[in-house]
Amino acid sequence: MTTHIPPRPSFSRLTRLLTAGVATLLAATAVACSSEPETRDPKKVTRLIYAVPAPAQEAMNPNRDLAPGDEYQLKPLYENLIGSDPKTGNWIPMLAESWRLEGTKLTFALRKGVKFHNDKGELTAADVEYSYNDLVNPPGAISGVAEAMRAAVERIEIVDDYEIAFHLRQTSYKFMEGLGYGSIGMAIKSKADAESRPSTQLSLSDQPIAGTGPYQFLERTPGQRVVFKKVPYQHWRQDAGFEELEFRYINENATRMSALLAGEAHVTVLPDELTAEAANQGAKVIRAAIPGRRIGLLLLGCYYKEPPGKDEKSADVFVSGQRKFPDSPMCDIKVRQAINKAIDRDALNKAFYGGKAEAMTMWYWQPELPGFNPAWQQRWQELYGFDPEAAKRLIQEAGYSPGELRIEVAASPDAGGPESADVSEAVAGMLSDVGIDAPIVSLDYQKQKAGREAREYTARIEFDSTSSEPITGFEPQGYANQDSGRAIEDVALDTMYESVLVELDPARQATLWQAFGDKVFEAVQHVPLLRIRDEALVDPAVVGDYTFPGAMNSERYAFVEYITPAG
């Protein structure tokens, strides 16, 4: 028989040291964790760090190589002809001091004395022409505006150094949007700088072509950060608040929150639940000036038999009464109204948005912007407001007995927000409560989108979230001449919308837009749910204020020059 006699090396001192170390660490942690959030004194930093999720793409040319949503990584460098008011989101003059329309000739008077970065001269009409050509030629730009620009512009005329005219095939609001500050706007770049480069194809180690923004390019580390510095002169519009600005890429929400609370980042954006947690820990929440994010439900199934092509109009192709799905319940306004009346928006607000969201009367008409009709708010309860009994009655009037009306509810994660699938499931429950058979269809968003674009769904509801410019944003949502498949297709509405799109006079356009809104309101095209103000979290010791209109999704991480230091 053998006996195991383990040798016993002398390590009692080591053990004691380890135990003491761990105990000290735990005690220190406990003390630190239990401390109250402290009031921080203003802290001067040279570099403002804005922690953001990594973009889908990194590139050096925002006009060609960056899709909407990724263009923010170079936005501090560039400006556009038309700007966006940081308080209202309204269009305001930017590099163009003014513009005038004569027939189809749109002439822009450029601002004088605007400097390009790195001593690349001053802005002239030649830079605008270069920027346009860079965007549309050769084909292959991933920016969302190339098609609208190419389709609209017949030729460009440089009147003089400070005046440029676009001769348009047809007046086009989408063209105007393409010149604006939004996520797809044409950035104005220095022609002289571009022509001094050996190649127009810029790699990530190259300097981007000079712009006119309040910040100029400093450096980029792919996958990690892009850094800018304040221009060394007084900027014509807005002096940057910090000497340097860094977009730091941190994908994980919890890590971004930690970086903010640890003082490694000074601004970030987080999901609601972490926003509240970060605020409890001492971060300051800055809310957008207007509720720019708008959520609602798309009603899919009421399609023309054949959709109009890109160059066709609905009125040309629609044969009255001929529908792809003649029996689609979505073509019945009573059903659309019943769906609206079945939804308890307050409950959704409390459950998924912490009660912070605001009522939305119409999806694409905002009270803060031209064209909104206050009368809609007065009639809201009658047509759309939560009333389960009225919903049941409307379903009966539409010819369906309880349980007979079947409407699928798509539940796709990330269909416009992390909460999308949960909201969709709640909506399905509310529809069931009024007697609609509402099976939940869980599927990947890309699959849902592909089916919708193929106009495959007879009667389906899809959650959607938008923050785009309202008039052009309406197009993929409510206009049939698109391959998005989102609209309740209606010739009268399409025709009215087409007239809005070609009107560029602001006053006349507002009148047309409101008249069109009246029809959309009566037609119950969608299920408008809620409006949400974007929130940015800042380190109060570093950041004093941050003014942005509230369309983080389409003008994401923008208006950074309006971030001011604390104190």
Partner: protein
């Protein structure tokens, strides 16, 4: 021996071919990159130009053979996520960063896992042994992302002694390397404890004790060396992880290595980068296994004879 090596090389090439088919077609099953990277209403003329540039025209079979032909020459095509950069250069930029983190993790694994395992065996049944077993259980069962977030919260946010994320100096590597090491520490601890227990029970160790050698010398010099041969095979697993990066760790800590790149490339449907990463990783594993097979065959002739008989 030559025939044995040749057969293994052919097997390795066939494996890589099979992997290339699987990776290529699985990537395409996720959908069209234009849907993710392009705007919703992209003009057909722009879309077509982009498809030409990215090599997305033609049938899938044609695309596959174009990919394979280029891949053999080390060209995986242009990255979709990083326009005007090749997939190979994007990956070459990231792998050293994963190696840096991986090496730090391995160092911690070895420096902590082996002593803990040895001491647990040397003091079997004691409270120390029980604590070590608890550490092993914790290390092998705790989710990496949870541990990572907890460590960030305590040591970076509350105590402020290290950085939360990114790659900037020594303080940014401490937490991710600890998280990377935790699983390895637990595994090595268990393996060394078990192996040491066998060794410590052997006759020659008892003889050494009877001859009056100090306990620590018996453990650390005479018992550790023979006990180490088994657990060291575990390093093959660690070596692969070292090369490919640990995706979860790199995401949580925003560590810009190959693991984070793989995650971002998959999200962006950057097929060339996804395919290149998969092929580079697979090639490394195949080559490593080939070397191990050859080494076994060299050390133990029965292995290659067995192969010969089997062949």
């Amino acid at each position: 021996m030559g025939r044995y090596v040749l057969l293994n090389v052919i097997r390795g090439i066939l494996t890589l071919l099979a992997i290339s088919v699987i990776v290529f077609f699985l990537a395409r099953l996720t959908g069209d990159p234009i849907d993710v990277l392009g705007p919703e209403n992209m003009a057909p003329i722009d879309e077509q130009a982009l498809r030409d540039k990215w090599g997305l025209n033609g049938s899938l079979v044609e695309q596959y053979f174009a990919f394979l032909g280029n891949a053999v020459r080390g060209d995986f095509g242009p990255s979709f996520k990083y326009p005007d950069e090749s997939a190979t250069s994007v990956i070459a930029d990231r792998i050293p960063r994963s190696l840096q983190l991986g090496l730090a993790g391995v160092l911690l694994t070895v420096l902590i896992g082996i002593p803990l395992g040895v001491l647990a065996a040397a003091r079997r049944g004691s409270w120390y042994d029980r604590v070590a077993k608890g550490i092993a259980l914790f290390g092998q069962s705790v989710p990496e992302f949870w541990l990572a977030i907890m460590l960030v919260w305590v040591f970076a946010v509350q105590l402020g002694v290290v950085r939360t994320s990114g790659r900037a100096g020594w303080s940014s590597i401490v937490l991710p390397s600890i998280v990377m090491a935790v699983f390895g520490i637990a595994a090595l601890l268990r393996l060394f404890r078990s192996s040491m227990l066998d060794t410590l029970g052997s006759e020659y160790v008892k003889l050494a004790r009877l001859k009056g050698l100090p306990r620590s010398r018996v453990v650390w010099k005479h018992a550790l060396k023979p006990a180490a041969s088994g657990p060291l095979t575990f390093f093959a697993t660690i070596a692969v992880r070292l090369l490919t990066g640990a995706t979860v760790v790199e995401i949580v800590f925003a560590w810009p290595g190959a693991g984070l790149l793989a995650y971002e490339a998959a999200n962006a449907r950057d097929f060339p980068v996804v395919q290149a990463l998969a092929m580079i990783t697979s090639t490394a594993i195949v080559v490593m296994n080939l070397l191990v097979d050859i080494l076994y065959a060299y050390l133990d002739p029965r292995v290659r004879l067995g192969q010969k008989v089997m062949a």
